[in-house]
């Protein structure tokens, strides 16, 4: 068993339980042990528009807490993963900023040393566990299902700070899906945004983005959409109905977390994967 500290972020652990449940079910099967830690906080990215320094501090704080565990940090949320990666990038290259942040961290007896690695669901599956290992556990292949992948902006860009996937042609989710027996296909809107971060101040526009992308996925004839980020899932799945109303279309796209599909292919119990919490018509798919 290889150990990783789990960083749950805000959205996953306060509402996107399907992601957390499926993660906690699937990874032990793949030989990954997740360590829970108290004391984490928001990564800061959702309030970067208000105060960038606050974002940097919150990210550094979480990294400092993770460092104390001595394992790499598993960050399932793309937005958090971006924030922590950018923070690392800044603090590892700017000694002045690092000592300034460390002065503030001292009040909670924390220190950022730059020693913790940060991984996301996608690279944990593809690079750490590997497609070969995943294949070994497939009991119910997702035969005949054509799945669209949605990587989410924060996971793919900007390549300058180092992202787990290629910025223009990410293919790791496809590789995992194919290992599960599903079909994949490139589509023009693959890299389009879910609109999620605009929900806080411009919900109409945010939902329009969501609706437009779901319409495209339907038009391409996909059987479903897969996500790897709680922000994206809460748009495509939790708010699919609203998104449909916003773009005046009846949307019926089954949306899954990648880890839920893994669980299904591994033959795990749907309930334990939190599948009943998906609000999109996932029953449409007979897996």
């Amino acid at each position: 068993m290889k150990k990783y500290t789990l960083y749950p972020g805000c959205v996953m652990q306060t509402e996107q339980y399907g992601y957390e449940l499926s993660i906690r079910e699937v990874f032990p099967v793949l030989g990954v042990e997740l360590v829970d830690v108290e004391n984490f906080s928001c990564c800061g990215e959702p309030v970067k528009s208000i105060n960038q320094l606050l974002t940097l501090y919150l990210s550094a704080r979480n990294l400092a807490i993770a460092e104390q565990q001595g394992f790499d940090l598993f960050v399932p949320c793309s937005v958090c993963h971006f924030a922590l990666s950018e923070c690392k990038n800044i603090l590892d290259n700017d000694g002045g900023m690092r000592s300034r942040v460390n002065e503030m961290l001292a009040s909670e007896d924390l220190e950022y040393k730059g020693k913790v690695g940060v991984v996301h669901t996608v690279d944990l599956l593809y690079d750490h566990v590997g497609v070969k290992e995943i294949k070994k556990h497939v009991k119910k292949p997702l035969k005949g299902l054509k799945i669209a992948s949605h990587y989410g902006c924060h996971l793919v860009r900007p390549s300058e700070i180092g992202r787990p996937v290629d910025s223009e042609n990410p293919m790791k989710i496809e590789a995992v899906l194919e290992a599960l027996g599903a079909e994949t296909m490139d589509y023009a809107e693959k890299l389009d945004c879910c609109g999620g971060l605009l929900l806080v101040n411009l919900p109409e526009s945010a939902l329009t983005k969501t609706g437009q992308k779901l319409q495209a996925v339907e038009e391409h004839g996909f059987d479903g959409l897969v996500t790897v980020c709680p922000w994206c899932q809460r748009m495509f799945d939790s708010r699919q109905k609203k998104a449909g109303e916003t773009v005046a279309a009846k949307l019926e796209v089954p949306v899954f977390y990648l880890t839920q599909l893994l669980g299904l292919a591994f033959g795990l119990d749907e309930r334990k994967l939190g599948l009943d919490l998906n609000l999109s018509p996932v029953d449409k798919l007979k897996v």
Binding site: D166, E168, N169, D186, A188, E189, E219
Partner: protein, 658 residues
């Protein structure tokens, strides 16, 4: 030397504004061995030179220090001055108090102190200098031209016209290069082959030009005046003398129509035996060993069809590659350019969508000798495009790909827009997405105006991506002229890719000892004043191997390079640089460390009478780089003009120990 003169230059205000020249003169005058110390406003002027000459005679000087600009600028000037005054030119030392002092230090007091130290160091070195003799070397009055594109062709013709023998080496089966792939040329719309093929014929027919096509330079030794060149002639598997270029073999090849045709940018197919294009020089068939069934499997039908059909009995599967050696006095490098593979910018869809092509691919589609016989069609379905959209600066002026401007992209797109209008008529929609139109050459701006007049839609903005939707290719482009985002639905997207160095330019650079810039293009010795010279004497560059340029500039530079090369070839002998390495045999243990570090093969081991080995410097090959001197563990290897004691004298001064 103990009668040294020091001459300090003001260089106008370049030195004098920061360095107290009078103080340096006073200081120098009191140094051991110095008998006269003077300053002048411009020491490199006639009056300055006369001041030095008169002082040498009047004070019977035996050594000279000039404190002025970098030795790169005027060392040769002052060597000549002291020589004219009757001294050996190598008893001179330059103290660089401009580039290494006045230009880089703001504080006058500190700069003056440093200038004094630099002068003191130079004086200390001059005291230990010895007169050196320049050896004479005979010049081989022949030239090697590498690359048979328009630049290499022009350089070869110019040099051969001047009466010199030229070896022209071309990697491909035919000369002609990129220009042979073009349909028409901007801004005159001359047919590229119509103006190129006469020159190619001239190359073939000129008695002074020896053409090595389908050959590559594999090694170059020696130095200016005498380079020893090895060339590998690749086997064509066709007897060069017997082949008449009739093309019968091409027509019957069992692989006909199955091999991607590189001359047509892989848009068409050729056979295993092929002639790249109808006007090829030499007009000889070539068998591609990677594709030929007989060469790969030892079997091709009952017997190879090419062999059966060839009346001249020219097919020869037993051919092997052949090594040819010759000597030349100079080398002109004209190896051209590659286009960036646009899949580097994945967002533009080049590798994903068939109907996203490059300008060079479109050039082959327009050409009547191209894969479609001049029919302009979309590669995906062979249908005539109703709309064609150009995207300029693909990878050019881009900090993440190629930082430079390709210098031909704008004009190429404008020219192709014109040709599309001409070929496809009034109905075709032509869109050009540009960042800036750079129509800088003679008559280019006029051409740009003309294209604006043939119903061309200019969008001033760079698309972010090319998408394939169910109704075809779609480009969103924000046009900063109208301040609006436009969606262009189009049939054919033509990318204008960056111009990049040839993919083998790094290897060739190593073979020739020619350095390359950060961009990978061969580096000129001076961007303004020596644009065709390299840092290796006797080797010149022309055309796009030095940097992107259009045909007219390539031709001009090629003629320039030929003329620079002829300056050397027209001399019977040259004076060799004496600042080279030499061995003190008493200290040499024959360890051969020097042999291994020498990049010029200029050191060999020699067996002495007592059966011990010592190193020996081949003076004609040594470039005086100093690597062996630094590497020698025993101090046996020394460099004339930079001996250990001479350098250490300077170090002692600068380190404050003398």
């Amino acid at each position: 030397m103990d009668r040294i003169g020091v001459f300090v230059c003001h260089c106008g205000v370049n030195i004098a504004a920061t360095v107290d020249v009078d103080e340096v003169v006073d200081f120098a005058g009191k140094l051991d061995g110095v008998v006269v110390s003077k300053s002048y406003k411009y020491m490199c002027s006639d009056n300055g030179a006369n001041l030095i000459k008169e002082s040498i005679k009047k004070f019977k000087l035996d050594g000279v220090v000039v404190a002025s600009c970098s030795p790169q600028m005027h060392e040769h000037t002052f060597r000549r001055v002291v020589e004219e005054a009757g001294l050996n030119p190598f008893v001179l030392e330059i103290a660089n108090i401009r580039e290494q002092c006045s230009w880089v230090h703001p504080d006058r007091k500190e700069a003056t102190e440093k200038a004094k130290l630099l002068v003191k160091g130079a004086v200390a070195k001059v005291r230990l200098l010895e007169p050196l003799v320049r050896e004479k070397v005979k010049v081989t009055p022949k030239a090697l031209v590498v690359g048979g594109g328009i630049a290499g062709i022009q350089a070869s013709l110019d040099l051969s016209e001047k009466g010199f023998h030229v070896y022209l080496v071309e990697k491909e089966p035919s000369i002609g290069g990129r220009m042979a792939q073009l349909d028409k040329t901007f801004p005159t719309l001359d047919c590229a082959s119509c103006i190129l093929t006469p020159k190619m014929m001239d190359v073939k027919n000129h008695p002074n030009i020896e053409l090595f096509a389908y050959s590559e330079v594999v090694s170059v030794d020696g130095s200016i005046g005498n380079y020893r060149v090895k060339v590998v002639r690749k086997p064509r598997y066709v007897d060069f003398d017997k082949c008449t270029g009739c093309g019968d073999c091409v027509n019957v090849c069992r692989m006909k129509g199955k091999v991607p045709d590189e001359f047509n940018m892989n848009l068409g197919k050729r056979g295993a035996v092929y002639i790249p294009f109808p006007q090829a020089i030499p007009l000889k068939a070539t068998i591609d060993p990677e594709q030929c069934l007989f060469l790969r499997y030892g079997k091709c039908g009952r017997s190879p069809a090419c062999q059966d059909v060839c009346e001249a009995e020219a097919i020869d599967f037993t051919q092997r590659e052949e090594l040819v050696e010759f000597e030349v006095g100079v080398i002109v490098v004209a190896t051209g350019y590659d286009l960036l593979d646009p899949s580097a910018l994945y967002e533009y869809g080049y590798s994903r969508y068939k109907d996203v092509i490059t300008t060079l691919e479109l050039e082959r589609l327009i050409s009547s000798s191209g894969p479609t016989g001049g029919e302009i069609v979309c590669p995906s379905d062979q249908r005539k495009p109703g709309s064609v959209t150009f995207v300029l600066c693909v990878g050019s002026r881009d900090e993440t790909v190629c930082t430079w401007c390709c210098r031909v992209g704008c004009m190429t797109a404008l020219k192709q827009a014109y040709l599309l209008r001409e070929h496809l008529g009034d109905d075709v929609e032509i869109n050009i997405c540009y960042t800036d139109i750079r129509s800088f050459g003679k008559r280019y701006e006029e051409f740009y105006r003309r294209i604006r007049g043939v119903k061309t839609n200019f969008f001033r903005g760079r698309p972010s991506e090319v998408k394939e939707k169910k109704d075809g290719l779609t480009i969103d482009v924000f046009d900063t002229m109208t301040n609006k985002l436009f969606e262009i639905k189009t049939d054919l997207v033509v990318l204008v890719p960056a111009v990049v160095p040839r993919n083998d330019s790094s290897d060739l650079g190593k073979i020739l000892h020619v350095s390359r810039g950060a961009d990978g293009f061969f580096l000129e010795a001076h961007p303004k004043l020596k644009p065709m010279d390299t840092f290796t004497d006797g080797i010149f560059i022309a055309g796009c191997c030095q940097g992107p340029k259009d045909i007219q500039d390539s031709v001009a530079q090629a003629s320039g390079a030929a003329s620079r090369a002829a300056n050397i070839l027209s001399k019977e002998e040259l004076e060799a640089e004496p600042l080279i390495a030499f061995v003190d045999e008493d200290f040499c243990s024959g360890c051969a460390t020097c042999v291994s570090v020498c990049s010029f093969n200029a050191i060999e081991l020699m067996k002495k009478e007592d059966n011990k080995y010592v190193a020996r410097v081949v003076e004609a090959l040594c470039k005086g780089c100093g690597s062996c001197v630094a590497a020698c563990p025993s101090g046996a290897m020394q460099q004339k003009g930079f001996k250990d004691d001479q350098i250490l004298a300077v170090v002692d001064v600068l380190g404050g120990e003398a």
